[in-house]
Subunit: 319 residues, 2 copies
């Protein structure tokens, strides 16, 4: 039996792959599996005999049925066209983020075994006027096509779960910081950039106000929470299968203070502050803080502070 990870070749997908393999059944509650099937536009970078890769288009129902079948122990659906890309190419976002999710759910349903199905959603489902701290039952009013498509995916995961077609969990991921590599098409790309670039001696620009509240999680914490989301008994989650994964509420001002503490004043000095109205408009529509007590009670976790988030990146990626 294998755990399927769409977006398995990506940053998060490949870390999740390594984490699942490292567990070797140590995390109670996970469905039994002996391998990972990475589904993405490129093969998994994880070099391990227990990892297989298939390359293809998840929005193609025939392909979805090829990758999810009798040997599927559970599904992580992480693949998506990100916020910037979905806003630029509406039809591509609809195809991958909505049709793709639906095709995978249909393939999981067709197995007849209601596999666990962890869907990576996003706080981008929120928009409009929001309370300072967002309660669990808060209306979604997405201000982006990415957010709208993720909100539709949540509704699908819920209804497929209610019908007993899958055992779904829609996890709204905080913004993941610090991502390694190059800036990507996500509107939140700057949140990694203002730490990553200065630590490499490169300049970076902050396009949103210093006081913007961001809801952040380190890669290690998100991966641990995704593992837990698959391991958790559905009965403990309740009928409504949407989970606001815990994060920490941090402003760029606090992030840059952490950068200075961990990376020094020279690194901090490399960050300029030039507002980009398009990016600021979207990011300021996102909620900055959430009620997470129930989630912490369910065993999900969050980072202790942002200094630790910077150190996690520095220790792994900065030589």
């Amino acid at each position: 039996m294998r755990i399927v990870i769409t977006g398995g070749a990506g940053f998060l997908g490949s870390r999740l792959t390594r984490a699942l393999l490292a567990l070797r059944g140590a995390e109670g509650g996970l469905p039994a599996f002996d391998g990972i099937l990475s589904v993405d536009l490129a093969p998994s970078p994880v070099d391990d005999p227990r990892v297989a890769s298939v390359v293809g288009d998840i929005a193609d129902p025939a392909f979805a049925r090829e990758v999810i079948g009798a040997e599927t122990a559970g599904v992580y659906h992480l693949a998506a066209v990100l916020s910037g890309g979905s806003e630029e190419d509406f039809d591509l976002g609809m195809r991958v983020n909505l049709d793709g999710t639906r095709a995978l759910l249909e393939a999981a349903r067709a197995t007849g075994r209601a596999p666990r199905f962890v869907f990576a959603s996003s706080v981008a489902v929120f928009g409009g006027a929001l309370p300072e701290v967002v309660p669990e039952a808060t209306a979604v009013m997405p201000a982006s096509s990415y957010g709208a498509q993720k909100a539709m995916g949540e509704l699908l995961v819920n209804d497929y779960s209610r019908k007993g077609f899958v055992d779904g969990r829609a996890c709204r991921l905080p913004t993941i910081v610090v991502r390694p590599g190059k800036p990507n098409s996500a509107t939140s790309s700057f949140a990694s950039g203002i730490i990553r670039e200065p630590l490499a001696g490169q300049p970076s620009n902050l396009p949103v106000p210093m006081g913007t509240r961001l809801w952040l999680s380190s890669p290690d914490t998100v991966v641990a929470n995704l593992v837990h989301a698959m391991a958790l008994d559905g009965g403990r989650i309740g009928a409504w299968r949407v989970l606001n994964l815990p994060g920490i509420c941090v402003t760029p001002a606090e992030m840059l203070a952490s950068l200075e503490r961990v990376g020094g004043p020279a690194a901090r000095a490399l960050v300029t502050e030039r507002r980009d109205e398009r990016i600021a408009g979207i990011v300021l529509s996102w909620p900055g803080d959430f009620e997470v007590d129930r989630l912490l009670g369910l065993g999900f976790r969050r980072d202790a502070d942002f200094d630790g988030v910077v150190r996690q990146y520095r220790d792994e990626f900065v030589s």
Copy 2:
């Protein structure tokens, strides 16, 4: 230029057709039109030279593009597989309620003129624990596939509006009472039945507790609100295009008191009270009252009292 009405042959669609024709431009703000195009599985019953009918499947994108085009002044999308049908045949509900809505929105987008698009949604998008009086910004947690599909339709209408593809308005309709004709399989069928049947000298049973709060609107009021939803300037609605159409909160006890006042004690005596757990369980989960001040301020209306709702039905349908 024509106004397109999907579900145009139905009870609500045909009343809306007649109302729009009777207005002859009297309601300010409506897009200019000189005819109605009814789109349904049967032709419109409205015998008027200004009404044309096409029969076909709205989930077929080619058909959707046939019925919405350069001559489309605005769209009412009322056609749906209702709650019972969507729960029984999941795939049919997804096809008509989700794919159909998307195909119509795509056809409207393809006109390049962002036509006004009024989408009939439902209070069935709600579920779970709800406040006594439901505020406008309340999280949807549909407990039925119909509700999930309508909630996805709302997200589509919103995002297509935000992108400027249509000028959308998603109206959540209260339960419409009193519907003429025979009892149907709808869970709310009794709400019309306990008035309609006794007025025709027939017995009827109340399957829910006397104190159950129901959110009701007469057909005339819903039609007037649908006309207003098309006529209203989009700027007055705001960025989020979902409208909880006003209704009145009435209990069966109050409904039967109205029946006695309007139809006499003999009519009232024809209603039995035999609880049906399946129906009661569903109906008791529905929201019974909503905050509607903003909507009333925007010019939407509601029935003055339930006596008037009973008289509206009696005067039109009881000889």
